[in-house]
Symmetry: D2
Subunit: 347 residues, 4 copies
């Protein structure tokens, strides 16, 4: 089998590091380029000591056009706005792009401009960008040149909500109370994520205006066939990795636990990365740490005719790098699980 030559653009962020780790361990990938603005010309292992003696690449400049000469796929792990500037039609003729940022997730340019408070730099490419929620979009992903890798919160929320929504077990007035570890905030200098500032504390943030709201609503519409207006509240949790999303959705009819279980099994029983938990067992982020799994559980709150859905992912795994590599596997015709079945790291 030919090997895939991969480059990571923006390798010194946490998502970049998780891409590097997973790509390095992938049996059919050669990781050939890592770029960084802050660490250019420095050995990558000087930034991330875990790679010492394992990855000897030196950080390169972000010249994507040149990198595309040798790379079969570029993973972009950049702040929003940057990937859209770098990605052009010409670039996409030379290579494939998997963007882990937000630039190509929203299909409607106006949504982007509104929620990201800037003019989208490359709206002409939006129609060909494929939203990479692998379990719900495989066919399109396989044909894509440009993949918009879903956000961490949308991945965790959509995977839990979609089967019940699509089957009209629940109505779309969903409330999502999500909790994330601190890596979700990225690696830019920021007092708010200093150890002392978030250790031993807990807060909600971005009430009512988090940028993942339009992305989740778009996903519910695209895959769940429902016009949704959600309430979404993220919280910051003093731990490194992990997202837990707790969803509250009104029952659409007179369904019982078995009905719900049956729908989930129909959709997900054969999905390798979705683990339906037995009745009464609730997801915990520790069981998915370092992996591409999404664990899902639910409780039927009969008193109030609501379903409580709980889903857990590793925000850097299924919520970013893991799903990106799952998409790469689809793009290159590999079995979808290739390089992604390592056991979550607990304790």
């Amino acid at each position: 089998m030919t090997r895939i030559r991969a480059a990571v653009i923006g390798a010194t962020g946490y998502t970049g590091a998780e891409l590097a780790r997973t790509l390095h361990q992938h049996p059919h990938v050669d990781l050939i380029h890592l770029t960084s603005r802050s660490q250019v010309h420095q050995p990558y292992a000087d930034t991330y000591g875990q790679f010492r003696d394992l990855i000897d690449l030196v950080c390169e400049e972000e010249d994507v056009t040149q990198l595309a000469d040798t790379a079969d796929v570029l993973f972009m792990a950049l702040p929003h706005g940057h990937a859209a500037q770098k990605t052009t039609a010409a670039l996409l003729e030379k290579t494939r792009v998997i963007d882990l940022g937000a630039d190509f997730r929203l299909q409607n340019k106006d949504d982007y401009d509104t929620w990201y408070a800037m003019t989208h730099p490359q709206p002409a490419l939006l129609p060909q960008a494929v939203y990479g929620l692998a379990e719900w979009h495989r066919g399109a992903i396989r044909q894509a040149r440009l993949i918009a890798n879903p956000g961490c919160y949308p991945t965790c929320s959509l995977l839990a909500a979609l089967p019940l929504l699509k089957e009209k077990i629940i109505t779309p007035e969903i409330i999502i109370d999500a909790k994330s570890g601190v890596t979700g905030a990225g690696r830019a200098l920021n007092l708010a994520v200093h150890f002392t500032e978030c250790n031993e504390s807990l807060k909600a943030y971005a009430l009512g205006n988090h940028r993942h709201i339009p992305e989740i609503e778009q996903g519910l519409r695209m895959f769940g066939k429902a016009t949704a207006s959600i309430t979404f509240t993220p919280h910051l949790i003093p731990m490194n990795r992990g997202i837990l999303a707790t969803l509250y959705a009104p029952l659409a009819g007179d369904f019982n636990t078995q009905d719900i279980q049956a729908v989930f099994e129909r959709y997900y029983k054969t999905e390798p990365f979705i683990r339906l938990l037995p009745p009464g067992v609730s997801p915990e982020t520790r069981w998915v740490k370092g992996s591409n799994f999404c664990d899902i559980g639910f409780h039927l709150d009969s008193r109030n005719r609501r379903v409580i859905l709980v889903s857990a992912i590793d925000n850097l795994g299924k919520g970013a790098a893991g799903q990106a590599i799952q998409n790469m596997n689809l793009l290159f015709g590999l079995p979808e699980t290739t390089g992604l079945m390592s056991v979550p790291l607990f304790p």
Copy 2:
């Protein structure tokens, strides 16, 4: 001023330790007895080294009748079922009881029997037990001999919800997504709260059946004048202290942010322990750690006609020992803030 002689029954739990700390620092209290089953006859400071050279009491047996001979008030910090067995009409003639457990919180014996899966040991005393949510029940508390100190989740939830519910700004179909530090689970041996098991992880628990559900609903009814059926999901967070409750409530009419702010100010502006945060500022548990404060913020989710309420307390402070001592101050005619205004400990 005469001094109050206080005893803590069940002093080696975390609530007991916080009672001891706060009572020791109270200017009008003599802490004269500490009891413990597991550490009887041992110096209290051998269990809790923070008290070395500060409290030299030795743990005594739980003979409440005898302790009542010398104590003006007994604080009971025991597993449910125990306080109700120890508290009798005779005892209440000799002393006052502030029960930090669940035994006297539910006014309806059947609710207790159902939710706690046992027959209430002392239902005859329920009518005279006063639910000690100080901000909403001062008059009754001042006259009480037996106070049922509210649970940690109910305190945090009710203080946030009651003004808007009572003023019919919101309807009672409230969803409460609550998050607690690990001290909330107590100090009994339990693998689930070993460091390794909860560090770096996050989970929901007791989905749909947490025992604070009927207590919250009772509080909404008693003080909010509304029949409520709530959805309540607690989560375990890897930190020692603190509860953050995020409440989602439907708007009852066409109210705006100023309307909501005005109601909160009307109810709470002069409350010494409730801190209304400025618009756009969201509570964080670190700001209330070690204190009796409850910080409250809100966001009007106009898109979905919901109010998001966020409140933070220290589960051992306002959620247990702090509120108990606030109640003691009311019982004994002291200014309510006596001994309770120390600055929260951050960092």
Copy 3:
């Protein structure tokens, strides 16, 4: 009693916040000024939410000359080099200065220039600066206008080593392996203290060149009457507060456990802030958190004729703000424990 009017210069660092907390609770102090470069003209409680509704001061500029008109004492909590620039003979005629930084700790100007890699801005004041290790320097402190508050590691190390060294139970070839929580690194923006970077990890740092080395050696010389050359290795621990120092010192003669215990009791039995632990009990930082205590234990390693000393402090308490206020009490003729006997906060 006249009240002490206090100002904190550099109030938005962690040491500044701990000073504010402790001064606010001090029965004889009026906290009248807080300064900050980054937050000037902003309410202090906007930076540190724990003070909301408790301290309503607004951050002022660092004009110490003007502040000295109204303040009886200035606490300086600034990066090294700054306090020495601000402190002048004229200033010291108007007010007293307690410097929590490093500028006046080393009595020898050359040591300062060497270890801090800069020319001391105010060497003429060094002779009148009094090293504020309260338990060992009370007489001089009471007469001082300018106090050099000891560093956190030196405080923890010296209090443990001095009695045995002065009594020649141990020789001065001491190895100090110290461990500190992350607040010790301060609050300046710094990737190395981001949550994700130090959580779930552990490292030694500044091997062989930490600036507290000459300070510890000076203290051993001043108070222990011994010329010492120490090996000192600090480590960064994933927790907010606390220092634990483990010292390894050669036995100077044929002494046993009782001899060592007797020396410690002779020196420290009546010291209010030093708690000698019973034989076999080892200090833990949780027992001193939020307090001015220093807990000390030891083990005689007879096999190797060494004494292992272990001491624990709160780096922000006895290691900074607590000791500074202890010094203030001495300066102003108050009982040394005034405002400093609150119970350590555990859990």
Copy 4:
């Protein structure tokens, strides 16, 4: 290549779980048996949710004789005393045993009886037990039927000290100040490792009497050719995984940094699991988490003629399961790195 059939005895402890994870991912191993006393007949994934859908084994009883019928190698991860009772000459004829407990580490039965306070159950087997410090004992390991896998602290300490000791760069009066994450304490119910009890704190423990002392001294003698009497102080750190050992050793002569570096390179340059850090870079446990690496750095403290050595391992990896599988690879003639080169998990 024939596959190795492996069994883990005591699979529900943390070491057992790490063995299961690593063996499951090993390309030449079939993990066929997992035993547990507490969870017998329960699916293993019910205890450790990370294995859901990955390992479907059910916990079996600890009948090692029967398990040996089908297993080529038994990994024993049991409390001390247990493996020695189960391991017999007859068992060793049927299968190979890698004991991760302490029973076969000390070659001298009397040392065992003294330090473990019990009579060794199987002293006749001690002569054939091979101490499995792979980098220093490969030849013997390859021939063994019974391997005593080294303790976590000894592994970390010996790997750092041995080259310099053997080459007489340092003398054997070594002080080891070691720090371990909480998984090192195991998974048995124990209040001292409850989250609340060790979070946000730090302590030394087992001063002067930790059972790894004789094991380290034996290793220094066996491989370093020096009679050593060490001072060893372990500390408990609030994190899950990782050991950092800081060693203080007297220089034996007039050596400089280059001399030391040269010795380390001579011994370790080709060792796949030992990573010598560049001068000035100090090990951090986060760089080795989840791996079999040992990172080593040093500082020459010329002022005091001491070498400070710092080494970091994952206590469950190189300190337990990783090293055990490295030994298994040697036993079965596989390349030593097989299945062990995954990237450490950071963040």
